[in-house]
């Protein structure tokens, strides 16, 4: 290349760098408008999370084929980028300043080999990617002009790079040529065809073309989907560090009560109401579609598609909203209310997202705004009114809370002050006749195992977890403060609950209210009792059972083994797994308060799930959550099934207990 090439190139590079920096600035400034600075608590956890996810691609690889594609492209491109930078440093800096090169000797040979190999890796990835987007056509994978541009550009950069290398090797014939094995083979091919001289004449042009294309590609990062290479590692760094089952806490009611000042903005109405890191997360979406493909609300044909929701928020953030400072109202504009209400908070989306976007966080923040406005339709109003007036979501009398236990000789905490286990029955277990059966079964089991347990009886009040999910944060916190006092009053150490929602809230959300309880779900407790031999059970054979993993027990809290252990302990049972099981479990549709109001669905979530179970031709559809039980029973009725086959694992065990 001519003498001043390097200088010109750097000048041009600076131009592109400016474009790049401006693009980043323009895109990123909206994050900061009106939001508090990002948090960096638990810094080592954050760094680890970023390294594991962004660099080691942990979540991307959950889907094997697309994960592989991305790994190939990503690793190849990174290596080449670093390699090219080293070359530039070597030639234009090190050599100039120190009058020697560092890319020398054996190191250099392996360097060349490495780069060529990874060029192939990247190309393989690109080819597979093109295949996936044209021939294979994955579900819910939008292919936009951005995708075409990126894939084509990278491919052309690589191809021209190899071509240039081949030409150089053919002309210069350096001794180490075979180490750049791809270029070397290509050079030999060109020589065989006698094309070297012609190509050498266009070498300069090719060089500039390649350089400009590469610079343009980098400069285009903040203007295209490529921006995720910056945002996704950062997102993994800045996403809140919280237990999975804990929603964000927009205010501390205790503090507000003490200060007497309730003038707090709650919820997200406009983009600028989201925190800095939430806005960053919207901008990290790569339109991979994995969240939407897992979402039960999408499968049911509601308006909710998690990916599209995040993209809408991102677009609102970046486009017109930039001009009005991001203050335009989102809901009723780009976002339809019904999208927000259709979410069951099952966490399949967050679980799957390779860049760690928390869709539920954003949805709940928007729900909080709607609740603050107060214009809710009947089902949600009734729910909140019932919680306010009757301390349970059914609106049934507080005085009836212990009715299910009549005649069972169940002791309250007043009768038995030195209880070991507080059996938290929960609202469903107390009031819903279907789930009262489960409560009775649990009592039978506890008594058979001689567990020293007590219930709160008529002092038990809803923990209003559902209020938090629907967006009425104040009511939830009020209940938490009350219950924490109640637990302290009775010196509660260990809580046993049959409801995964209660379980999750006590375990993961209550520590923020100043109490650290040991919380155990009935599936775990029963499994322990069986394992330790405290329960004598008959065995039953010849049954085919499948277990439906409740979202709040499985995906949220990682409890998959205990309920299965309980089922297996029933006897020689054939345990079949649905395809969507364990952390891929398909929601029953009750979560996110959906149980309490109507969501317009083309095909109901619970019906989809029940049909999935039916396909396995099982005798029993085992559950471990009162709401899953209720929803699946409902589905059975909707489908006209004679017998639903739905049984809680406690019921299955209680049936087999030998009274000693």
């Amino acid at each position: 290349m001519p003498a001043l090439t390097a200088l010109i190139m750097y000048a041009v590079l600076s131009g592109f760098a400016a474009v790049f920096l401006y693009g980043v600035y323009r895109r990123v400034r909206i994050y900061f408008r009106g939001s508090p600075p990002p948090r960096l608590d638990h810094i080592t956890d954050r760094i680890r999370r970023s390294v594991v996810n962004a660099f080691a691609q942990k979540k991307v690889l959950r889907k094997r084929f697309p994960g592989l594609i991305h790994l190939l492209i990503y690793s190849g491109t990174i290596v080449l980028l670093i390699g090219t930078t080293l070359v530039m440093l070597n030639v234009d800096f090190w050599d100039v300043v120190f009058r020697r090169e560092f890319l020398v000797g054996d190191f250099y040979l392996f360097f060349e080999l490495f780069l060529d190999a990874f060029g192939l890796v990247a190309m393989a990835g690109l080819v597979l990617a093109i295949y996936r987007r044209t021939v294979s056509r994955s579900k819910n994978l939008p292919t936009t002009s951005d995708d075409v541009y990126i894939l084509a550009t990278l491919l052309v950069i690589l191809l021209t790079g190899y071509l240039m290398e081949a030409i150089r090797l053919a002309v210069d014939k350096p001794p180490w040529a075979p180490w750049s094995f791809v270029g070397y083979e290509l050079a030999r091919l060109l020589q065989a065809r006698g094309l070297v001289v012609q190509l050498a004449s266009i070498y300069q042009g090719l060089w500039w073309f390649h350089a400009l294309l590469a610079f343009a590609a980098v400069a285009s990062i903040p203007y295209t989907k490529l921006f995720h290479v910056i945002t996704s590692p950062l997102n993994a760094l800045f996403v809140d560090i919280r237990p999975k089952g804990q929603l964000s806490m927009p205010f501390d009611l205790k503090q507000l009560l003490a200060s007497g000042n309730f003038d707090v903005k709650i919820g997200a109405a406009a983009i600028t109401d989201f925190s800095w890191h939430q806005r960053l997360s919207f901008d990290s979406c790569t339109s991979c579609g994995r969240c939407t493909n897992e979402c039960p609300a999408t499968a049911a044909g509601t308006l909710l598609s998690p990916m599209h929701l995040i993209l809408k928020l991102r677009n609102a953030m970046l486009t017109r909203q930039q001009t009005d400072g991001g203050s335009a109202q989102l809901i009723g504009g780009v976002v339809d209310q019904e999208e927000l209400w259709a979410c069951t908070t099952c966490r399949a989306c967050v679980n799957e997202c390779p860049v760690l976007i928390d869709h539920i966080d954003a949805i709940v923040d928007m729900r909080r705004h709607l609740v603050t406005e107060g214009k809710l339709e009947r089902g949600k109003r009734d729910l909140l009114n019932n919680l306010n007036n009757s301390a349970n979501p059914y609106g049934l009398p507080q005085a009836d809370r212990m009715k299910w236990a009549e005649g069972l000789d169940v002791k309250t905490v007043k009768d038995l002050p030195d209880f070991e286990v507080l059996y938290w029955v929960g609202c469903s277990g107390s009031y819903d006749p279907r789930n009262q059966n489960v409560s009775k079964a649990i009592v039978k089991i506890l008594k058979a195992a001689n567990v020293r347990f007590a219930i709160l009886g008529n002092e038990e009040k809803c923990n209003c977890e559902v209020a938090r999910r629907v967006g009425e944060e104040g009511r939830f916190q009020q209940s938490a403060l009350e219950l924490v006092e109640l637990f302290k009053k009775y010196n509660v150490k260990l809580i046993l609950t049959q409801c995964p929602h209660c379980f999750n809230t006590f375990k993961n959300e209550y520590p923020e209210f100043g109490v650290n309880l040991q919380v155990i779900h009935h599936s775990q407790f029963i499994a322990q009792l069986i394992e330790s031999g405290r329960l004598r059970m008959r065995k039953v054979a010849g049954k085919v059972v499948t277990f439906h993993d409740p979202c709040y027990l499985g995906r949220y809290n990682g409890i998959y083994a205990s309920p299965r252990d309980v089922v297996k302990s029933l006897g020689p049972i054939m345990l079949k797994e649905m395809q969507r099981s364990k952390d891929h479990s398909f929601c029953c549709g009750a979560g996110g308060a959906n149980f309490w109001y109507d969501v317009a669905q083309k095909k109901k979530v619970n019906v989809i799930r029940y049909e999935e179970a039916q396909q396995l031709k099982v005798d029993v559809l085992a559950t471990a959550c009162p709401f899953c039980t209720s929803m699946l029973e409902d589905a059975a009725v909707a489908l006209g099934a004679e017998q639903s086959g739905v049984k809680d694992i406690a019921e299955l065990v209680a049936e087999l207990i030998e009274s000693s």
Binding site: D382, L396, Y431, P433, W596, D598, S630, D634, V637, A638
Partner: protein, 325 residues
């Protein structure tokens, strides 16, 4: 003061109800040994008919300001009449008009009024009318008396029965012209209500059904039964949501309508909690289900373990027999 008050008066803006009030009024008047008077307004006054159905006296008001019911004009008219004639007892028909009129009238003449009495009886000394009414969600029946006279009660349609017409009865018709000020409000428009069906939220009797009804065509059986009782029709969620046999406004339950009728029939409804929360304010719940273990029976006042396809004809017959007797 009570010595001066004599006579039982009745008034209603609904002629058939007036006749029913005359029926009870006749009994009271006889027990008290006084006259029964009816106040009639508007054109087409059926004075003779009222006399035949028990009135001793008809006070006929012909002022055109009284042609259509309006609370100001009627309060002016009746309060003047009452101040002049001092009746002992006044029964007013508990139509919506009656319910807004009676208390205003009572306040103008400073007397007590019992809303929607369910029973009227005289006390032992025949000084007071003991007026019963239901309160506190149907849990309590209060027996009330008015400390001042006239003792006013508003009476709903169907509580009492009109006496059979007696053409031989004679009575007096008096035309009076109390001073009436023009009304304080102006009636711009009236629109007759087109929807025959009673809104579930306000319905007094509801006939509801669930999955026990096997075919969509069978809904007509439910409808006929509802017609016999003049009831509104409701259903459980699967009927509206999953089968779409009825519109969503008719499903009663957790995320649907909440109802508080006097009488609720549940045909072929198992009694899941979602449905029960919608009906718990009903005064009397009757469940018909062929499964004796259906949860709804725990929640009902009366339960019939039967196939609804057999129960409905049997109930219809029994009710029709009742009307005959």
């Amino acid at each position: 003061m009570s010595e001066e008050h004599k006579g039982v008066w009745v008034f209603s803006d609904l002629p058939p109800l007036t006749l029913e009030l005359l029926g009870k009024g006749r009994t009271l008047a006889e027990e008290l040994g006084t006259e029964l008077t009816v106040v009639l307004t508007g054109p087409n006054q059926e004075s003779e008919r009222c006399i035949q159905h028990g009135a001793d006296k008809v006070i006929s008001l012909e002022d055109p300001l009284l042609n259509a019911f309006q609370v100001d004009t009627y309060t002016d008219a009746l309060s003047e009449l009452i101040n002049q004639h001092k009746p002992d007892v006044l029964l007013i028909g508990a139509t919506r008009n009656g319910l807004e009129f009676a208390p205003r009238l009572a306040e103008r003449i400073k007397t007590g009024c019992v809303t929607e009495a369910t029973r009227l009886a005289l006390d032992a000394e025949k000084k007071y009318v003991l007026m019963d009414r239901v309160a506190w969600g149907g849990n309590i029946v209060e027996t009330q008396i008015s400390r001042a006279k006239p003792q006013i009660a508003t009476i709903p349609k169907g509580l009492f029965s009109a006496l059979p017409a007696d053409p031989s009865r004679k009575g007096e018709i008096i035309k009076l012209q109390p001073k009436i000020k023009p009304p304080s409000t102006k009636l711009l428009e009236t629109k007759p209500k087109t929807t025959k069906g009673v809104k579930l939220a306000d319905a007094q009797v509801i006939v509801s059904f669930g999955r026990g009804v096997k075919r969509k065509e069978d809904i007509s059986i439910i409808e006929n039964f509802a017609h016999v009782l003049n009831a509104a029709i409701g259903c459980s969620r699967p009927i509206a949501e999953d089968l779409s046999w009825l519109p969503e406004e008719q499903y009663i339950g957790l995320s649907g309508q909440k109802v508080s009728p006097k009488l609720y029939f549940a045909f072929g409804i198992s009694g899941q909690i979602q449905h029960l929360t919608g009906i718990r304010s009903s005064r009397i719940i009757v469940a018909i289900n062929n499964d004796p273990k259906a949860p709804i029976f725990e929640f009902s006042d009366y339960g019939l373990v039967a196939d609804l396809y057999e129960a409905i004809p049997a109930l219809t017959d029994a009710i029709k027999q009742l009307a005959k007797n």
